[in-house]
């Protein structure tokens, strides 16, 4: 979808989609008439999403905000109650599932207590095929072409001809989930409406999303270093922010302010009030790339690099997560841009007291800038067409089971496996043992309950909760989320490369700032204008 903000650009790069799409696209497109269905997105706006019915199995210590920030938990409930009287797949022998994994592969079910527990809970043999995350689109498109579809599959986004592929091969979940029908699957109805937007195609619901928090990447800061250097940890304007960057930079001590060019451009866009990927306040879609403030942000990054505030390896590090995280945790960069869950990665690695997330100030001061919203979901999961009403319903119920929230026994078993083998209780928290982290089957990439903060230390969760509540209050959504653009599904990565490369060229002085105008022109003629038109039409 077009809803990608900073981080996910890299996901696509890493996905090596060139190989994948290159091989698979011609086959896929040849079996569908793309021209006839271009306007399916128009009807998507009319799709009836599941009626949101929040479920609270256990009361959170910090409440969710009405704008949709996550609730916080200080501890994990010790004796959670089972939420399902009978297993969701009762009566079925086995169910085949394929989804992308991002962890090391677990041992096969035969000697994997965690997996056996999952099978038992689900009530059938879960025949799980895993594909490494980056290779998943290739694997998926090969399966489609070969006609070997499993019962449940992760649906890579973007897939060319998404609406056609969905309607031909996958089950319409509208009858099960639209409106009040979702009440039968309470934990799916517990997924907030914003997260369902991407699951729509052909005017109905075709998938179940994996809900994620609404804000896009926070701007993380090493608060310990900032305080130690006597700098200002809470800048109130761009000038103060720039001063902070200057104060913490000291090349002699191998310490710089930042390393991620794309991330910085995005955060500056927020400060300047530029649109979040797209703007449709006038009724037609215009891209943030063509916005004057984006160019201004680029100029600002260019100046920062010139003043030596960026890590010397920034040019190569920008495209990757690993070095950026290493710079940050080792204190070589004082700030970094990363997904909100990275807070826990950093916290566990170097201590929660050393990490904080900043709230971007408005450029000229006078309050918080509007933080950009993300997609609210990551990944989609679809069910094969033609399995019959009974099995399809059971599979939807399996997804429902996978969404059982904290406070249910299903949640505990799904996340932590078998007590004593896979996890033990430590300080009131279930903690994976070494065996547990090896055996873990990360079914969270099929679908999952809405994300929460914690459970963890009171101070930590409170800080995170405060940031999320404050940022979510003024979140600037990306209007293209939940709308389908055919051009984006085909040329999205190519278009992104144009702007990505140009940002680096300009930031590191390989091209003058004025080059950006040509880049935007090229971007628009290569497909940007078409994308805008497709999105605009879908608003009608």
């Amino acid at each position: 979808m077009a809803s990608q903000t900073g981080p996910s650009r890299r996901t696509f790069l890493a996905a090596g989609s060139a190989v994948a799409a290159g091989a698979a696209v011609p086959l896929l497109s040849s079996c569908s008439t793309s021209s006839a269905t271009k306007d399916t997105s128009a009807s998507d706006a009319k799709a009836e999403l599941p009626t949101y019915a929040p479920v609270t199995a256990v009361r959170p210590d910090l409440p969710a905000s009405p704008q949709g920030s996550m609730p916080g938990y200080f501890s994990y409930p010790r004796n959670p109650k089972p939420a399902f009287p009978t297993p969701p797949l009762e009566g079925l022998d086995e169910v085949s599932i394929i989804y992308p994994t991002y962890s090391a592969v677990p041992p096969k079910p035969g000697n994997n207590a965690f997996w056996q527990r999952l099978n038992k809970g689900a009530g059938a043999d879960l025949k799980i095929t895993l594909a490494t995350g980056g290779d998943y689109p290739t694997k998926f498109q090969t399966l489609i072409a070969g006609g070997d579809l499993p019962d449940i599959a992760g649906f890579p986004v973007p897939t060319p001809d998404q609406p056609q592929v969905m309607s031909r091969l996958f089950a319409d979940l509208g009858p099960y989930l639209s409106g009040d029908a979702a009440k039968e699957f309470p934990y799916l109805a517990n997924i907030p409406t914003a997260s369902w937007k991407t699951a729509v195609a052909n005017g109905t619901i075709y998938a179940v999303p994996q809900p994620r928090a609404l804000p896009s990447n926070p701007l993380f800061a090493r608060v310990d270093l900032i305080q130690q250097l006597g700098a200002n940890p809470e800048p109130k304007s761009y000038q103060e922010f720039l001063q902070l960057m200057k104060d913490v930079t000291d090349p002699k001590k191998s310490r710089w302010a930042f390393a991620d060019v794309w991330g910085m451009v995005t955060h500056l866009q927020m400060m300047l009030g530029a649109p979040n990927v797209w703007d449709n306040s006038t009724g037609t879609f215009t891209s943030t790339w063509a916005d004057e403030r984006t160019k201004q942000a680029l100029g600002m990054v260019r100046d920062m690099v010139k003043q030596g505030l960026f890590h010397p390896d920034a040019a190569s590090a920008t495209a990757q997560f690993t070095p950026l995280r290493e710079y940050f945790t080792s204190g070589r960069t004082v700030m970094t841009s990363d997904g909100y869950a990275a807070w826990d990665i950093f916290g566990q690695q170097i201590g929660y007291d050393k990490v904080t997330a900043m709230v971007e100030p408005k450029h000229d001061g006078g309050g918080d800038a509007r933080h950009f919203g993300g997609t609210g979901s990551q990944g989609l999961t679809v069910i094969r067409k033609g399995l019959g009403e009974k099995k399809t319903r059971a599979l939807v119920n399996l997804l429902n089971w996978l969404c059982a929230p904290i406070g249910t026994q299903e949640h505990l078993y799904r996340k932590f496996g078998v007590e004593g083998t896979d996890f033990t209780w430590k300080d009131g928290m279930p903690t994976l043992t070494a065996k547990g982290s090896r055996e873990l089957v990360d079914v969270q990439y099929i679908t999952d309950a809405p994300t929460i903060l914690g459970p963890g230390q009171k101070a930590t969760v409170t800080t995170q909760h405060a940031w999320h509540t404050r940022v979510t209050a003024g979140l600037l959504p990306n209007p293209a989320v939940g709308r389908y653009s055919d051009t984006n599904s085909r040329k999205g990565s190519q278009l992104k490369k144009i702007t990505d490369d140009a940002q680096l060229d300009i930031a590191f002085g390989r091209q003058p700032l004025s080059h950006w105008d040509d880049v935007v022109k090229q971007w628009r003629s290569t497909g940007g204008d078409k994308m805008a038109a497709e999105y605009s039409r879908s608003t009608a």
């Binding site: 962890s103 592969v105 895993l130 594909a131 070969g146 997904g339 996340k415 873990l440 990360d442």
Partner: protein, 331 residues
């Protein structure tokens, strides 16, 4: 070896020739080349500073190659604190520990994958060499059945390779999905290697083969008793090509193998090392996510995957330097 060719009929004529040829050919390139090599660069003429400079440059070049290796091995042996303090890589483990190796090998997944990879590599290389040699020999004999069209077909595969999905469909129709054979059969004959072996065969002295035939050896006996023993360099090289190919293949495994228990080492390695790269931002949710494997763990599995294939190189080294040249240049 060549003496073993003895047919029963004309012992006195054949043996001197075959013996002579047999002795000379395995010795490799013609004497001229060898002479050039010894007369090579800087035999005693350079002054001390120049030699020192050369030494320095060579040392630098070696360092560029070696340091990353040392870093990988050292990081795999370093403890967690040192790795995170160093920000990723260490050059010397201050408190060496094999904890990372123990962790990697304890689950059974990696050990199993290691055996899968070894099996595929051994069986695959053997079959691939056998098929390649047979095909190349047939194509190298003038007048063998349909050799021209067959040769063109092999050349054709060099220029045009099928896409992912046609390959997948073939494997699927052959019923090889989720089978180890899917990793071997589709790549058993490599056009390039066939050409290399064929041109090597064509270079063998015709007289030797003729004399064997006069002695009554059939094609198969000529191949196994004369041609193959004379072709050890090229077989070693092509074998190594195949072995490395089988050892490193992960993409086909990713497509064809659904059962993770059948995954070869490289694919498992991928889930440890490469896979958390796309695991960024939107993908992770904090609860119940295993943290990305520590650097030392990643490096340990890297070492495990490197060592077996690395062990093969020294044994094939001497063939390696000449094998490809001999076969390819005279094609």
């Amino acid at each position: 070896m060549s003496t073993a060719v003895t047919g029963r009929r004309t012992p006195q004529r054949r043996s001197p020739i075959t013996r002579a040829a047999g002795r000379r050919s395995p010795a490799g390139p013609p004497p001229g080349r060898r002479g050039k090599a010894t007369a090579g660069p800087g035999a005693g003429s350079a002054s001390l500073p120049v030699r020192a400079l050369k030494g320095l440059v060579l040392l630098l070049c070696c360092a560029v190659v070696l340091v990353p290796f040392i870093a990988v091995v050292a990081t795999s042996l370093a403890d967690k604190d040192q790795v995170s303090n160093a920000g990723g890589f260490v050059l010397w483990p201050s408190h060496p520990t094999v904890g990372a190796y123990r962790a990697v090998l304890s689950g059974g997944v990696v050990t199993r994958a290691l055996f899968v990879s070894l099996g595929i590599t051994l069986v695959g290389t053997f079959l691939a060499l056998a098929c390649t040699t047979l095909l190349a020999y047939a194509l190298s004999r003038p007048g063998s059945f349909a050799s021209k069209p067959l040769l063109l077909m092999v050349l054709f595969t060099l220029m045009f390779s099928p896409g992912i999905i046609p390959n997948y469909l073939v494997v699927k129709e052959l019923g090889l999905l989720n089978s180890y054979w899917s990793l071997i059969v589709p790549v058993m004959i490599n056009g390039f290697n066939v050409i290399v072996v064929r041109s090597f065969f064509m270079d063998l002295p015709q007289d030797v083969l003729d004399s064997a035939r006069i002695d009554g050896a059939g094609e198969f006996r000529v191949l196994t008793r004369i041609v193959l023993p004379l072709s050890k360099p090229v077989l070693a090289v092509v074998g190594l090509f195949y072995a490395v190919g089988f050892w490193n293949s992960f993409f086909t495994a990713m497509l064809y193998i659904n059962d993770t228990a059948k995954w070869p080492l490289q694919l498992v390695l991928r889930t440890y090392v490469v896979n958390n790269a796309p695991l960024g931002a939107d993908n992770i949710s904090s609860l119940g996510t295993t943290p990305p494997p520590q650097q030392s763990l990643q490096m340990a599995i890297l070492v495990i995957s490197l060592v077996p294939i690395l062990l093969v190189y020294p044994f094939l080294q001497r063939h390696f330097s000449k094998g490809v040249m001999v076969g390819a240049v005279k094609g």
